[in-house]
């Protein structure tokens, strides 16, 4: 094999050249993303239920939809939120379900569902976007002060949206701000005087605004298109609509109403920038589209759209997700580059030969380039996880090459072979088996990670896959390129550097001392392991460290009965508070919902605070500190609860558990009042637990309603139909379009409304009965104010109330433990009621469960491989000793650096177990070989230690140095990899130390030969 490679060396060189070029090409073509998108296959079905209360929506719409959807193939979880006027059902499919397949299934069932729903309600599928779908925020800003928000919204709707929507990958654009409409403001007192009914006006507007096509007509002039153009052109047209003929003449619409250009009523949201309302928009991307590319295309499209706008109107990009990706990827790239340099430098220290060092250094980029080719071929994107995997493993990728090249070099220096070619073949083949074995051990430990599910799976599977691919690539480099390159390039030289010679002498002295105080050292090692276990228990637990996004998100929860105007004041307050800090670049908020289909109301505000780079921060050092400051200055705002998070983090939280915070406690049960009461007492428990911040119980009840309940007897008496009452409500209060008005190429709705709207006016609404008499609404219906439910959440067919909390200065694991204990002690649940913990915590629990299987599996796999290699349980067990050795360092570094036990740190443990075992393998194999050659035990141990010191140190140094840049940087994106890096570095340090000192002692003690 090696001979064959060397014989075709020119070809190998060509392949090398090709792989470098193609690798570069692949690297440039690699789609870049921040994260693997953790969104599960999820389909949202929303149904507008105008006029229905939350309870009715739940009963008539959400429940039937849930029932049908939960029976779908692959549907695992069905959640729903019922609001007054909106039902929002999300169906979660099993992992790996093709989203388009899932959407198809849902689409088919929607037809069936339609049959169960009250007439006129149409369930729709939500946009095919994901939690990370909010790729870009932009606003239309009028610098000239000429245009109203309604005008800007019209520009957005008719000019900007079509251009941006045509960019591939844009699923939807949610647009905020008031829509322009022509309002027919009816004065009820005038109507009464003229004897005009509410429905007369609607009918008049509808009748007089029709347009129709009349087909074609032949004439002597040619073929004519016949068009009936009845659409209104200006408000005067509408005013001139006749309503009713009287002996005195026609009563025109203008007699009883004023027609004005204004905003469409019933708006449930607004977008503010720096405290002032603007016309803001959010671009939602389609699932699976590359964010970086999309944002690039969007920016271009925005430039194009800008030209379509009148002078003075500017499109301002407020936020795009690409910036985070750019920063995170840049961090990783920097870490990679620095890693390569550090590793090369470290190796040079041991192998003081520039040619060897150059070859070894070269092996890393060569490995990476091949990996890029593979990644591209597999369709993986370059993201925080895949690139992070490369950055983590950078030291490992040199290992194979180090061993191969070092062996060739050693043989060269020893000048044992006359023929360089056969020398290279000989020395390469010599190490082939151990190297393959060693690399496969590292690769194998990553295999259990493939059992991960959900988010941790979506994050860490690519990481594991990338590392395995890169390890394979490194083998390819070591055994394909390196022999050829060595043949041409390597020259004999001194075997050891001075630096290494000194180290070796010291080490051997130390080892002989160690033999004398063996019991003490063994005891010490045991003690250390024991201590590390204690530390592990004391280290906090969390799912994953938070990615620093360079932006803050403040959520404000208001009373369900606030008006949009009042909500805007709160948004302004939050934004102005944040803008006092010079570190804040800009702030913007979205209040409630943009258009239909989102389950939020004006009582909910999300405020984005975009920060300057961390290096420029002066008033505070960390995001947590800034959060504390904001929290402090907002605390005494009456009637508002605030919660702090980050934009992308919030989306991920929401996506995974349906809530937008770190910990969510769900109280399941049937009776809404009871579950709300339980939720409130849980809220008290949570907020009195140390570390809890932003504790909030979602206000489900207390939404004021104005109920209009027709009295059937009176309806008969006055011969008024329910239809006419509901028609009036639908148009005058629901804002149903009565006609359209055309301005240039834009169409605007014409809606009827009352000049003055108040509960009293509603009571006095004049209705006409079939006999032509005027009757007031309150004559035939009960008009009463009452409290109803604002939001009803369900999961898997059960209602639940939600207590949410964030965390500050404490790890999630212990916090949840305490809360759980206190709830168990203090709250007695009635039968039929239950509590579950969700939010990020859910992920953590699931991940920890998986890890508690994955880590032992990894160790077992290592043991199996060792046993295959040694065919000796005793030797295999001895090598496995490195696992506790590595645990010691990993645990210490986690504890001392203040990181939590999380998925990345667990992955770090898995990795370091593999790497550490390698040290043992190298040593034990050598001792065995020597002993087989007949060397006496103690002598064999000493010799092996002396000979194998260099490869062990090189591997350890290379791996640690490769991780060092990641550990030291504070740039965006490094947070996620830091625990992993710290575990690996710490673990390698102790395992190397213990391998070199304790392992020989143990070997000596156990092998009595």
């Amino acid at each position: 094999m090696i001979r064959w490679v060397l014989n075709l060396r020119l070809l190998v060189l060509l392949v090398l050249l090709f792989s470098i070029l193609y690798g570069f090409y692949s690297f440039l073509k690699l789609p870049i993303d921040t994260f693997p998108d953790p969104t599960p296959a999820q389909v949202v079905i929303y149904t507008e239920t105008p006029g229905l209360s939350a309870e009715e929506t739940e009963l008539l719409v959400s429940k039937p939809i849930e029932a049908v959807m939960s029976g779908l193939k692959g549907a695992q979880l069905v959640r729903s939120i019922s609001l007054p006027g909106l039902s929002y059902v999300s169906v979660f499919f099993a992992e790996g379900t093709d989203l388009y397949f899932a959407r198809n299934l849902v689409a088919q069932k929607l037809l069936e569902v339609q049959g169960f729903l009250p007439q006129g309600l149409v369930p729709r599928m939500g946009p095919n976007t994901s939690g990370l779908g909010n790729v870009m925020f932009y606003a239309l800003v009028d610098t000239g002060g000429k245009y109203s928000l309604e005008d800007l919204k019209a520009f957005q709707e008719w000019r900007v949206k079509p251009i941006l929507k045509s960019v591939d990958g844009v699923e939807e654009i949610s647009q905020w701000g008031p829509s322009k409409a022509y309002l027919v403001m009816v004065e009820t007192s005038k109507m009464q005087q003229h004897g005009v009914g509410m429905l007369d006006i609607i009918r008049a507007v509808e009748d007089y605004s029709r347009s129709a096509g009349g087909g074609f007509l032949q004439s002597t002039e040619g073929d004519l298109v016949v068009r009936g153009v009845g659409r209104f052109q200006n408000p005067e047209d509408i005013k001139a609509v006749p309503i009713k003929k009287t002996p005195q003449g026609y009563i025109l619409l203008g007699d009883v109403a004023n027609v004005v250009e204004g905003e469409m009523f019933n708006r449930r949201g607004a977008f503010t920038l720096g405290g002032e309302e603007v016309q803001g928009n959010i671009i939602l991307k389609r699932v699976g589209v590359n964010t970086m590319e999309l944002v690039k295309n969007l920016k271009e499209a925005i430039r194009k759209a800008q030209d379509m706008l009148p002078e003075g109107v500017r499109i301002e990009i407020l936020y795009d997700q690409a910036y985070l990706t750019e920063k995170a990827v840049r961090t990783i790239q920097k870490a990679l580059l620095e890693g390569i340099m550090l590793v090369s430098l470290g190796i040079t220290l041991y192998l003081w030969n520039p040619r060897v060092a150059l070859l070894v250094s070269l092996s890393i980029p060569a490995t990476l380039l091949i990996t890029f080719i593979l990644l591209n071929a597999l369709g993986l994107s370059g993201n925080l996880m895949t690139l992070g995997g490369l950055a983590i493993g950078i030291g490992l990728f040199a290992d194979a090459t180090v061993v191969v090249v070092e062996n060739i070099y050693r043989h060269l220096s020893e000048k044992r072979y006359a023929n360089k070619l056969s020398l290279v073949i000989q020395s390469t083949s010599e190490v082939a088996k151990p190297v393959f074995f060693a690399i496969s051990i590292i690769a194998v430990v990553f295999l259990p990670i493939f059992t991960f599910e959900s988010v941790e799976g979506k994050y860490y599977k690519p990481l594991a896959l990338t590392i395995i691919l890169a390890l394979l690539a490194s083998l390819f480099v070591a055994f394909f390129y390196m022999p050829v390159l060595s043949l041409w390039f390597l020259k004999e030289g001194k075997e050891e550097t001075r630096f290494f010679t000194i180290i070796k002498e010291r080490y051997l002295k130390l080892l002989s001392v160690a033999f004398k105080i063996r019991p003490v050292l063994l005891g010490f090692a045991f003690l250390m392991f024991f201590m590390s276990l204690i530390m592990m228990a004391r280290v906090g637990k969390e799912f994953a460290p938070q990615l620093e996004e360079g932006a803050l998100l403040v959520k404000s929860f208001l009373s369900p009965n606030v008006s949009l105007e009042e909500a805007k004041r709160v948004a302004k307050l939050v934004e102005n508070t944040a803008l006092k800090y010079p570190e804040v670049i800009r702030t913007f908020s979205n209040i409630g919902r943009a258009e239909v289909g989102e389950p939020e109301d004006v009582s909910y505000i999300e405020t984005f605070i975009i920060l300057k780079p961390q290096a420029e921060w002066k008033s505070f050092k960390s995001r947590q500190e800034f959060e504390e400051k904001l929290r402090g200055s907002l605390e005494d705002t009456p009637g508002v609860e605030f919660s702090f998070t980050q934009p992308i983090q919030m989306r991920i939280d929401e996506l995974l558990s349906g809530v937008k915070s770190t910990l969510a406690i769900k109280v399941f049960g049937e009776d809404l009042d009871t579950i709300n009461q339980i939720a409130h007492s849980i809220e008290e428990i949570v907020s009195s637990t140390k570390g809890a911040v932003d504790v909030e119980t979602e206000a489900q009840s207390g939404k004021l309603q104005l109920r209009i309940i027709p009295d059937r007897e009176k309806l008969q008496l006055y011969s008024v139909s329910t239809q006419s009452i509901m028609g009036v409500l639908e148009y005058y209060f629901g804002g149903k379009e009565a006609g359209q008005l055309q301005r240039d190429t834009m169409l605007f709705p014409v809606v009827v409304s009352l000049a003055e709207k108040s509960p009293e006016v509603v009571r006095d609404i004049p209705l006409y009965n079939s006999e032509g008499a005027v009757i007031k609404l309150s004559d035939v219906a009960k008009v009463e104010m009452s409290e109803g439910y604002g939001k009803i959440r369900r999961e898997d067919g059960m209602r639940y109330a939600l207590v949410q909390s964030n965390l500050s200065g404490r790890d999630l694991g212990s916090f949840v433990e305490e809360v759980r204990r206190r709830i168990n002690e203090e709250i007695k649940l009635p039968p039929g009621y239950s509590i579950s913990f969700g939010g990020q915590f859910e992920n953590q629990e699931r991940a920890m469960k998986k890890l508690s299987v994955a880590v032992p599996t990894a160790i077992l796999l290592i043991f199996l491989l060792l046993y295959l290699n040694y065919r000796s349980v005793r030797d295999s067990l001895m090598v496995i000793l490195n696992v506790p050795f590595a645990t010691v360092g990993g645990a210490f570094s986690l504890y001392l650096l203040g990181y939590n036990l999380s998925v990345p740190s667990a992955v770090g443990f898995i990795a370091v177990f593999g790497i550490a075992t390698l040290n043992g393998v190298v040593l034990v194999s050598y001792i065995r070989n020597l002993m087989e050659e007949g060397v006496e035990k103690r002598e064999a141990i000493m010799q092996a230690c002396s000979r194998r010191l260099r490869p062990i140190l090189i591997t350890a140094t290379a791996t640690s140095l490769g991780l060092l840049p990641m550990l030291l940087t504070t740039d965006i994106g490094s947070e996620v990899q830091k625990p992993l890096a710290s575990v690996v570095i710490g673990g390698i340090f102790t395992s190397t130390l213990l391998t070199l000192i304790i392992l020989p002692l143990v070997y000596d003690a156990i092998n009595r030969k």
């Binding site: 705002t637 009456p638 009637g639 009871t674 009461q677 007492s681 005027v774």
Partner: protein, 339 residues
């Protein structure tokens, strides 16, 4: 469960003091207002309809049959009392005038006969009987003449053969019933004149109790004030509006109120002095009416009693003058308390 409720209630009771800094209050739009005893009109707004007072209407007739020769006023014109409004050619007048002329001649003739007979009698040419007969004849002719003149005069002013028709009172010609050449008589009036110095205003209240015992009230229409009097309360409910119907008799001082005018009438039923607060200052928490009193570092919950309301203002009891209460943005304070 009960324990839970008690804990909840307790926490609500404790939360009656709300800390708010002045900047926050301003940012949230919470303004304060001093509580002061003020006078407010207790006023009610009704849809109203102006109608003419039929007792102030009259028709202009020609006293005898005839034919309209000239019309001196048009419909809608204002007329004064005694103003000539039309000339009516009446054959009766012509006839009368002819008769009068004949009667005149007759009288002259009889007078001459009488003079002659008197002279003859004095000269005793003729017997007394002849003189007496002439005297009787003369007196008859004279009285005939006088009777005719009186008949003519009774028809009013006459110009030649035409009657000059005059308006009996001041008012507005609301309806012109004839054109030139129309035949008129007592059955067919020439025009209708309406006096609008006083009008009827119908209002349609939902509640009659406010009118109990009230005789004189003020009606405000676009800041103009008109003295009014409750004239009549309909025993029936208005069929069209389904409301009560009340008639006011209103002095239309400036003539602004026009017949058939539909307006929103603001009725002032008197003035009430007390602590009037804007409606949004008073909130309802757990069925209790409360206001938020300004204290040094925030607001304090205060129960009040609402005893009256008028036009967006509530009359409250339970506050002292000089205290400051939150108006506007009170929902933030309310939800803080309810939390």
């Amino acid at each position: 469960m009960k324990m839970l409720l008690i804990v909840l209630l307790f926490s609500i009771a404790l939360a009656q003091h709300i800390k708010v800094s002045p900047e926050k209050a301003q940012a949230l739009g919470i303004k304060t207002q001093r509580v002061e005893a003020t006078q407010r009109n207790l006023s009610l707004v009704f849809p109203a309809l102006v109608q003419a007072d039929p007792s102030l209407a009259f028709e202009v007739y020609s006293p005898t049959e005839g034919m309209v020769r000239r019309l001196l006023v048009k419909e809608g014109e204002r007329v004064r009392k005694g103003q000539a409004v039309a000339l009516v050619y009446s054959p009766k007048v012509a006839d009368l005038r002819a008769q009068i002329r004949i009667a005149e001649v007759k009288v002259k003739h009889a007078e001459e006969v009488l003079k002659r007979e008197e002279m003859l009698y004095k000269e005793e040419v003729v017997p007394y009987a002849r003189y007496f007969a002439a005297k009787v004849e003369h007196e008859r002719a004279l009285s005939e003449y006088k009777a005719l003149l009186r008949t003519l005069n009774s028809l009013g002013e006459v110009s030649e053969d035409n009657l000059v028709i005059k308006s009996q009172k001041s008012g507005v010609v609301v309806e012109q019933m004839v054109v030139l050449g129309s035949a008129v008589d007592l059955q067919k009036p020439l025009m209708k004149v309406q006096d609008y110095s006083r009008v009827w205003v119908y209002i349609y209240p939902t509640d009659l109790s406010v009118f109990k015992g009230v005789k004189t009230i003020s009606l405000f229409v676009k800041d103009r004030e008109y003295p009014a009097r409750v004239d009549w309360i309909s025993p029936k409910v208005d069929q069209e509006t389904g409301r009560y119907k009340v008639r006011l008799s209103v002095e239309n001082r400036d003539g602004f109120l026009k017949e058939n005018m539909k307006l929103s009438a603001n009725l002032s039923l008197g003035r009430i002095k007390g602590l009037w607060l804007p409606q949004d200052a008073v909130q309802e928490i757990k069925g209790e009416k409360v206001v938020f009193l300004k204290v040094s570092d925030g607001f304090q919950l205060q129960k009040v009693k609402v005893v009256g309301s008028s036009d967006g203002y509530l009359l409250v009891e339970g506050l002292k003058e000089g205290q400051e209460v939150a108006v506007g943005g009170a929902i933030f304070l309310k939800s803080q308390v309810e939390r």
